[in-house]
Amino acid sequence: MSSEPLIFELSSPGRRAFDLPALDVPEATLPGALRRGRAPELPEVSQLDLVRHFTHLSQRNMGIDTNFYPLGSCTMKYNPKVNEDVAALPGFANLHPYQSGDTVQGALEVMFELERWLAEISGMDAISLQPTAGSQGELTALFVCRAYHEKKGRRPRKVLVPDSSHGTNPASAALCGYEVETVKSDDKGHVDLEDLKARLSPDVACLMMTNPNTVGVFEKDVRAIAAMLHAVDAQLYYDGANLNAICGLARPGDMGCDMMHFNLHKTFSTPHGGGGPGAGPIGVKEHLRPFLPVPRVEKDASGYHLKEEGFPESIGRVRCFYGNFGLLLRGLVYMRALGGDGLPEVARGAVLNANYLLALLKDRFEAPYGDRCMHEFVLSASRQKRENGVSALDFAKRLLDFGYHAPTVYFPLIVPEALMVEPTETESKETLDAFAEVLRGIAREAVETPELLRQAPVNTVVGRLDEGKAARQPNLRWTPCPPPPA
C-alpha cells in the first residue's frame, strides 16, 4: 500500500467538506483588536477526499477487530459492539453535564450501579468514577493517601514501588510530591519481603503493588505485606491493570489493600481508541472514603443525586464534571453482559489461555518464572540474543510480518530481552495455536536465518523507523508556506 498524503497535501483552496445553513439573524462582528488577522491554514478538501483520507489511514492501522493483539499488561480483549451502540443512544450521548438532576436520572443510575458493581468485584467500600485513565486513578488515590496522612498531622515522604512495576506508578508518586524508592523482586518474581522490611519506616506513605504482578505471578504474601505496611500506618495500593486475572475469584479488598484503580479499558472491555479514552475509577476502604473527589453520586427516596457539598475532607476534583461517562457506560454494559456468574469465567478463560500459550512456547524461549502463570507471562529472548544475535525487538518486528501485533517488549525491566504476552479470554484456541506456530517458526528462523528477524518487518506499510532521527530533528507539525507578499 503506497503512502497516504498528509491531509494538508490534499488541500486546494475553495474546496469544502461541510456546509451550513444561511445565517438567519443579522451578522455580528467583533471589535477589531480581538480579531484574528488571518484564517488558520486548515486543509480545504471535498467530503469524498476527506472520507478516503481517513479511511486509508484506518487501513494503515491495526486493531483488535483485525488482528490478534497479545500486548502484555494491556488486556486487549474484544470490545463488544453493543457497548458502542448503547453509548451512541441520544439519551446518553447528548446529555449536557449541567442539566438539572431530574433530566439525567438514567445517567446517574448508570453511575450509581457501576459503583455498586465495582465495589462488589473489588471488595472496596467506596468508589470514585472520576479519574480519566489508569494513571490518573493512581494519582487520585495518592492524593487521597496524602490527605489521609495530613489529617493525622503526618507527612510521610516516600512511596515504594516494586522493580517490576508499571512506569506510571513512580511517575504518579513523583507528581504527588513523593520520593520514590524501588523494592526488589525475588527470584520467583515476588516482592522481596526482606528488602521491603528494610525500607519500611513511618516515612513511607504507601506501597504500590500490581497483583498478579507484571511477570504474571500472584503475590501470595499480599496479606503479610499489608500487615507490615499497616504497622507503620502506610497504605497498600492495588494497581488494577491485571485485575482480569482474578476478577470474581479474589478481591483486592479482601487482601488488605486500602486503595486501587480499575482500568475499564482493560478488564471491562472498553476500547483503547488508539491511546485513549480510558477510564480509571478508584476504590478505597472506609477510612479513606472522606477524601474521595467530589461530586459523588447518591440515591435516596426521591432518586439519584450528584452531591458536591458536605465533604470537607475531599481532595476536590481531578478533572471537570464526572469522569469519562461514555466509557463508564460501556464498562457497565460489559459487566451486565457477563453478570456475576460470567465475570469469574472471564478470569478462568484468561488464565487458561495464558497458560496454554506458555505451554506451547516454553521450550523455545527462556521462561524465567517457570511454566505456570496467571493471565500473562514473560518470556526472555536472552538465549537468542546471546547465541544468534537477535533481540526481543527483532522477534517483535518479525511477528508483525505475520499479521500479529507484538507482545510488550523490554518490560518488565527486571527481565532482559523481555517478551510479555497476554492473550486474554476472548481469543479462541485456534488463534492461540496459529500464533504459537508462527512464533515457534520465528524461533527457528532465529537460529537458521537470523537476518530475517533483523530485517523485519518487510510486509508492513513501512519498515523499521529511524527513531533517533525523529528525536534529534523533531518534525512535529505541518508548516504552511508563508503567504505571498502583499
Binding site: L42, I121, P170, H265, G273
Partner: protein
C-alpha cells in the same frame, strides 16, 4: 457457560489442560492462597443477552432528557455544536478505535499520522509552535500547563484569573497542592473581564504563570495582549486557556504572546456525553517542548526511505523515565483528538469561520432580545462570543424550572458555583439554534419572569 465473548468450549478446555498438564482450570489458580479467594459467587445479577442489554440500557437512556430532545442554551464549558456526519463514520472505523497506543509504529501508521495532523491543526488554530497528542480534558490541560510553567521557570506560584471555569481552577488546585505550588485566584473586574490592576498586584518574581480563559467563564472576551505584557514583565509565562471554535474569529494565543495555550476540544465534533470522554489540548512555544507532558508524534524515515510517523521525544515519558518523567500520562484521549481532526478537516478555514460567526451572531441576536425583557440586565460590559450572563429580576431557579416545562434549558445557573449570584444565568447560543427558537426563548423567558414575579 457458553457466552458470545467467551470462545472456549469444554472440548477446548480439556485439550488445553492436557497440554499444560493440569487436571482442572481451577488448579491454575493454586498460587492464590485459599484464604485470599472469594469463596462465594459475586453478589451481582446474572449475565444478560444482547436483547436484554438493549432493553435495560434503553430504559435508562429513556430516563434522561437529552439536549437533542429539548432546546438547550447550556454552555459553561460544554458546548452543543453540530458534528458533521463524517466524524461519526471515521470514528466508527474499528481499525482506529480497537487499537492500542501506537507502540509498534509499523502497524499503526494510520493513527500516528492522524495524531501528527491533529498536532498540526492545534498549532495552526492556536498560533503556537508545538502540540502534544492530547490530554484528558480542558481542566487537566490547564493543570498540566501550570505544572509545566512551574518546571520551566523553577518558580512555585501560579496566578489564576477567576474568569477561568471554577472546575478548571479546582483541578489546578488539586494537582498543585501536593507539589507545594501556591495557587492565587484573582476576582474579575466589574466589566466581566480580567482585573488587570488586581492581577498586577499579585504577580511577582516568584510567579511561574498567569493563566486566564478566553472567552472566559462568564462569556466575556479578554485582552490577551495586556495579560501577556503583565505576565512577561515579571518573568512569568502566560497560559491561555482558549475555546477552539472561537479561534475561527478570535486572535490566537500565539499572536498575543502566550507561552502555553490549552483548552477543551469538545466543541470540535465531540458529543456532550454527560461530560466525557472529551479531549484536552496543549500547545507551547518551541523552547518549552521538552517540558511537554504526554505523547507526541513526529515524522522520520523508515529503512526503505519512506516518510513514516512515530511517537517521539519519549525521554520525557513515564515508561522510559519513571519518576523523572514530565508527567504520568499513559492512556490519553487519542480517539477524541481524531474526532477534532476530522471536524477541523471537514470545516476547513472557511467553515470554521462560518461556524464561529454564526455562534457570535446568534448569541448577540439573543442577547439583544432578552435585554429588552423588562427587569432583565446584562451585567457585564465586556464584549462576548457565544455566551453571556443574564441577570434576572427574580431567582433563576424558578424561571429555569418553568422554561424546562416548555422544553427549554434556559442556561446554567451561576448559583451552582456562587451562592451570591442567585439571579444570574449563563446563556449560550451556538449555530444549532434557529431564529425562530431564539425568538421563542425570549418570549418564554418573559412569560416565566412575569409568572415568577
Amino acid at each position: 457457560m457458553p457466552h458470545p465473548y467467551l470462545p472456549l468450549t469444554d472440548h477446548d478446555r480439556a485439550a488445553m489442560l492436557k497440554a499444560i498438564g493440569e487436571p482442572a482450570v481451577d488448579s491454575l489458580f493454586d498460587s492464590i492462597p485459599p484464604d485470599l479467594r472469594l469463596g462465594r459467587p459475586l453478589a451481582l445479577p446474572g449475565h444478560l443477552s444482547e436483547m436484554e442489554l438493549a432493553r435495560e440500557f434503553g430504559r435508562m437512556a429513556g430516563a434522561n432528557r437529552p439536549v437533542s430532545s429539548l432546546e438547550s442554551y447550556l454552555g459553561a464549558g460544554a458546548y452543543e455544536h453540530y458534528a458533521p456526519s463524517v466524524v461519526r463514520h471515521v470514528l466508527g472505523r474499528s481499525e482506529f478505535y480497537t487499537s492500542y497506543t501506537p507502540y509498534q509504529p509499523e502497524l499503526t501508521q494510520g493513527m500516528l499520522q492522524a495524531i501528527w495532523e491533529y498536532q498540526s491543526m492545534v498549532c495552526l488554530l492556536t498560533g503556537m509552535d508545538v502540540s502534544n497528542a492530547s490530554l484528558y480534558e480542558g481542566g487537566h490541560a490547564l493543570a498540566e500547563s501550570c505544572l509545566m510553567a512551574c518546571a520551566a521557570t523553577g518558580r512555585k506560584k501560579v496566578v489564576l484569573a477567576e474568569g477561568l471555569h471554577p472546575e478548571y481552577r479546582q483541578v489546578v488546585k488539586t494537582y498543585a497542592g501536593p507539589q507545594g505550588i501556591q495557587v492565587v485566584e484573582v476576582p474579575q473586574a466589574a466589566s466581566g473581564a480580567a482585573d488587570l490592576k488586581a492581577l498586577e498586584a499579585h504577580l511577582d518574581q516568584d510567579c511561574a504563570a498567569l493563566a486566564f480563559m478566553n472567552p472566559n467563564f462568564f462569556g466575556c472576551l479578554e485582552s490577551g495582549a495586556d495579560l501577556a505584557g503583565l505576565a512577561h514583565s515579571k518573568g512569568a509565562l502566560l497560559v491561555a486557556c482558549v475555546e477552539p471554535v472561537s479561534l475561527g474569529l478570535l486572535a490566537p494565543p500565539g499572536d498575543f504572546g502566550a507561552d502555553i495555550a490549552c483548552g477543551e476540544g469538545q466543541p470540535l465534533g465531540i458529543p456532550l456525553s454527560f461530560g466525557g470522554p472529551w479531549v484536552g489540548f496543549i500547545a507551547c512555544r518551541q523552547a518549552l517542548v521538552r517540558r511537554m507532558p504526554g505523547r507526541i508524534a513526529g515524522i522520520t524515515d523508515d529503512n526503505r526511505g519512506q516518510r513514516a510517523f512515530v511517537l517521539t521525544l519519549q525521554t520525557r515519558e513515564q515508561h522510559i523515565r519513571r519518576e523523572k518523567a514530565t508527567s504520568n500520562i499513559c492512556t490519553n484521549q487519542t480517539l477524541l483528538a481524531l474526532a477534532a481532526t476530522v471536524t477541523l478537516s471537514a470545516l476547513g478555514p472557511v467553515g470554521l469561520q462560518e461556524v464561529a460567526t454564526q455562534c457570535l451572531s446568534k448569541a448577540h441576536y439573543l442577547a439583544g432580545l432578552v435585554s429588552r425583557v423588562p427587569g432583565v440586565e446584562l451585567p457585564h460590559a465586556a464584549p462576548f462570543f457565544c455566551e453571556f450572563t443574564l441577570r434576572l429580576p427574580v431567582e433563576s431557579a424558578g424561571v429555569c424550572r418553568a422554561m424546562r416545562g416548555q422544553g427549554i434549558l434556559a442556561g446554567v445557573e451561576l448559583s451552582r458555583f456562587d451562592k451570591a449570584r442567585p439571579r444570574d444565568l449563563l446563556v449560550c447560543a451556538t449555530e444549532t439554534k434557529t431564529r425562530a427558537q431564539l425568538d421563542r426563548y425570549a418570549e418564554v423567558l418573559a412569560r416565566a419572569i412575569k409568572e415568577a414575579a
